[in-house]
Amino acid sequence: MKAAPPHTGARANGWLPSLSAMIWITLFLGLNLTSARIVMISADSDPALHRRLGEWMIQHHAIVRENDFLHTHQGPYLSLDWLGEVVFATASNWFGWSGFVLVAATLIATCYWLLHRQLLAEGCDAFLATVLVLVAMLAGSMHWLARPLLFTQLLTLIFAAQLRRFQKGQVSSLKLFALLAPLMVLWVNLHGAFMIGLVLISMYAFGSAATAWWRSTSYTRPKTLFTLLLLCFGASFANPNGWKVHAQILNFFHSHEVSNLTTEFASPNFHTVGMQGFLLLLLVLGVTLLVVRPSLSATDVLVVGGWGCFVLFSARNVPIFALVVTPLLARWLTNFAQNERGSPWRQRYRHWAGQLTATDRASGNAPPIAAVIVCMLLVLAKPQIAGGNPVITTDFSETRYPTVAVAHLREHPEIVHGEMFNSFLWGGYLEFALPERRAFIDSRAEFYGPEVLEDFFTVNEPKRSWESVLAKYNVGWTILPVQHPLNRILELNPHWSLVFSNQQAIVFSRTS
């Protein structure tokens, strides 16, 4: 790919935000100040679960090693995201849920800001880079949730960029090792999806080995990448649980009952609005392959094909696909646009895009972003600085979570006895909002395993033996969404009585 056109004499203005900075500021403010912040914490109840775990670790100055949040399964617990949870919990200790959103918004904004910067640095013009980043944002937005997985998205971007730079000879082996191995240590402690880094390195290693074999050239680069793979694999053991983390992740994917339960591990449902961005990205990719007809290296084929396959298996890989494929798309489209034999349209585009890129280079990145961060921190810290109510309040959606029911249970703890049966979606929320009670289930399916899951399904469906499962776990009360089928059974059952009901939740208690 050729370098972007040189400066055309645009005057530098550090305070005028560049396109990258505008992407950062728009995302950061949009996620922090609009209703998106509620969606980010309440699309599922994992943010609450992570906050609860993080707060526990901060309180006890220790990593969670025993689980005591569920009554159905206790025992040794492997925390896959302990550092991510501590970071999120620290921010929430300062600013409540707004702090939680602040961390998530910063990670998302930085991710797409960095992607834009990478595309520009790799020779893409500012217009094309912006359009492609917007498409990647649309695709990735289906998984913008305030959870430690956002660290994975950022780290994937950094790994992929460094591997591309190494492939082009822009970074030495030593620098690559020095950067990616420590980042792998960070990754394995921040989020359980650190394997993505290892998969990416493998793709580049096998891709360059195939190219070296095909062209009968030196194997130095593939050897370096395989060494890096070994090094990062070794580095991934630098976590509080060592090899057990790897074993747990492999177990999770091995157990179909467990991985099939988690919606985000399901194949993409193209009927949903959330998948329209991914479809748009696929359309851009398809049109590029058909019209531009780029020459793909073995690594490109592995990266696009491999991540395409992973996405079809699991919708949660869509943001990763977007982050690793967009730079390749940018390279192919830039080569196409810069082709000297192109039509007059392409010449006109080059001229116009060159001017835009020069203006963009003269604009600022750090000063406007720093100014926005300071302002946001001041807004969030208003109660600490000036007292009074916070300017921005963020909490779980009352229409989606049993907030009123939980308040009622805290006021009248005597209305229920024994253990709880809860809906899968509410597990993390109840662990956070009702810490004195233990939940039946939450989203950590890899922790409690298939037996608890099967029991949960028997009651959740409900099937014939639902009563024996509830007896097995000494369940004395249920808290479920109004339309849950078990509520109808309990309404008719003389051994259960209604103790709370509103538009969101119904609480039944066993009478005998």
Binding site: H256, N260, A266, S267, P268, N269, F270, H271, L279, L283, G286, V287, L289, L290, V291, R293, P294, S295, L296, D300, V301, V304, G305, G308, C309, L312, F313, E461, P462, K463, R464, W466, V482, Q483, P485, N487, R488, I489, L492, N493
Partner: protein, 486 residues
Amino acid sequence: MPSLTQWLWLMILLILLAQPWRTMMVASDGDPCLHWRVGEYMLETRHIIRADVFSHTRYGQPIVTKEWLSELIFALAGRRAGLYGLVVVATLLIATTFAMLHRQLLRETGNHVVAIFVVLLAVWAAWTHWLARPHAFSFLLAALWCDALRRFERDASGRRLGVVLGVLTVLWVNLHSGYLAGFITLGVYWLGTAIELIRGRSDRNRWLAAQQKLRVLTGVVVLCALVSLLNPNGYRLHLLNFQFLRSDYLANWLAEYASSNFHEIDSRGFLVWLAFTFLTLALVRPRLSPTNGLMLIVWTYLALYTRRNIPLLAIFVSPILATALADASPAWVRRLSDRLGETDEVARGGLLVGMAAVVAIALWPRPTEMPAMKWPLDAVKYIQQHPDQFQGNMFNQYIWGGYLLHALPEHRVFVDGRTDFYGESLIRQYDDTSALRTNWMQALDEYHVSWTLLPTEHRLNLALALLPNWQCVYTNEVATIFRKQP
């Protein structure tokens, strides 16, 4: 010796006639029985069905028969050989579709290796939706439709295109509602030609050729639209289809309209097909015409959106990918193809294959039944043995509806696979009751339901067991019957 095409046809036929495929083709859902029953009714009354007689929820309401002709064909086969007859019809249609596709690929690529490779991938991708239902006619018609359009691309013979597509449209609108796939494809060809027209402005000959093609295609679109009204319901057929497609609720509710679940083994063929498409584009880098490029994008999107479109994707896109692959095939593949071609040229096995097929169809052990592990065969027997106990209206499992129409013709069902006929409001009512939502009793009261026939593990049984005026009168591992006390 038979040719490769004849081998392919025979192999598909024999595999589908064998177990477990034979049973899967009729017992994957209740629709094969439903279509047989509707066809049987039309044979008995010697009229096309105009009003519902099978359900108590929509009894007497006007019905738009989308598949009357194929239902008659299936019913005739069913009369002759029971469920096995349905399997034979579907098997012949599917085997013929892919044999024709193979001939088409051979004709277009001249490469025997590529043709058989691509058609086998197409078979693998498409097999997820091989059921003994009227949509099997759509496969064959799609292959013929695609062949006619690709011939037109090569020789620009407008008259032949008009005649072939006109006849196919008349057949298609009477055989299956999948005729919309033909119109989508025709629209893509029209759009692709329009793009060629715009791109060819600098080259007068190219521009004139594109203009002529566009004129022909416009005429064919109009002709097909007009002849599509030659069905018992005229324009109402189109209205019903559009209403159904506009309902997001129904599209999300019906399992076969869902996107593929790639965790299932059934979707592996489609996954391999997608990988094959990507590798062909990435490595072969074919120079496709706008029409072929659009066909690839549109049908891949439709197959990703709804898995029931996967067979149509394989049929419409195979020639595009096969041509690209043949152009780029290395010398050893061409040599192998020539060798296969030599054998194929002297192949005269048509009679042998025909005889083998007749022998297989006629002598194959026929018993084809709905499996008792999944379908309420014993419960149906119980109902038939105790007719006095089951006087009022039934509430049944959706997927069992078609089977019950066929097995219990003396009773009217609550719902069956004719989702578009029942409409969104009734399906929602059914779903509310079935999912035990707060208004679950409403449908039972409104439709005066006095007995239910549901899978034993169904949650509604648990609720009915707690009601004093409902009593379980029959239960086994598969089905449970509850009856309301008078």
